[in-house]
Amino acid sequence: MADPAPLHAHAYDGPSCPRCRARLTADWIHSGIVICPDCNKPFEATAFRPPQRRLEVVSVAAALTPEGANACANHERNAAVTNCVRCGLFICALCNMDVGTGPHCPSCFDRLRADDALAPAATRYRDYASMARIAMIAGLFFSFMLLGIPFALVSLYYSRKAFKQLRDEDRSKIGLIVVIIMALFEILAGIALIALMIVSLTKVTKK
């Protein structure tokens, strides 16, 4: 079997020139007007020196308790600071994977993330609000072909998912409410159109 095509993703390589994207070395990262050494064009910059986040890892021997402390399940010399809320494993500050959903050990964190069960750690999601909007617009366009009702139903289905998504994110739902109203209108219009066709057909057959 042939190897899959290589991914052409551009890995982030640190600060670069915003014009030519040439990597900037530490000498060129400063505040003020910077002239790119590669393209010789200027840009205004503000440089920062962010401090490293320090984790306080306490060794088991140094833990200030009469009987020492529980050791971390992954690092036997480190004192455990908490336990995983999923599996109960004792973990040290290094292993504590907390993204606002309680402390997790690295393996539980990986599993939950792979299952998309950790909402704050999710980096990819489906935009159901856009899908609902597009289905509603398609329904408007194809309503004359009696496709308004199925498209409106699809739109309502995605609207339900989008509503939950927006509620979880605490975002505005006004646009989605407009979509739902339009979809309901499409259903009513579709039913009215079908009723009108039936009435007109029965009149024709009676004649």
């Binding site: 440089a47 920062f48 962010p50 990819r124 489906r126 605490d170």
Partner: protein, 182 residues
Amino acid sequence: MTPGKRKRLGRNVGTMTRETVFETVDAIETESREGYDVTRKRVLFEEILLVTIHRELGVLYVTLTAALTVTFAGVAFFSRSVEGVAIFFSILALTFFIACAVRVATRVDFVSVFGRRSKAVMRFSLRKRRAREVYGRICSRALEVQRAMIEPASALPPGETPPGPPESLQGQQHEDVPFTAG
């Protein structure tokens, strides 16, 4: 997904990119769209290394609009005998000419935020003041967050004393509680 309020700062819409940039409590958040899939990236304020602002012409956009102007003006010129067609193509040519002229006159402001692990870019075609505001806001937020990391969180402003224990507990001796493994 990030719960809580976020403020939209700008967009980065190019030939191959469709991104929206937001400000959250602790980061600059970028949402890039591929169809209906949204990929979210964050540049944490505590990891920002460089924030830049610059103005660019956008050669591809100007070339494209200029080429379309010339094309439609040419069609209008050669079809001048048919009045309706000539007017239609003249209006098209004028539209693209205006787009090209506005871009040449105003250019595009880019605000880029480079973190340790990711970056965010915003484009501002017409709102130059907004670009400057966003640049200043990101710089001030990054400075604020990074300063707070250096200074101990418990540090109080000068002249303030830490609050004491509740009155009901004042004067009581603290008793050592024996450690029990649980």
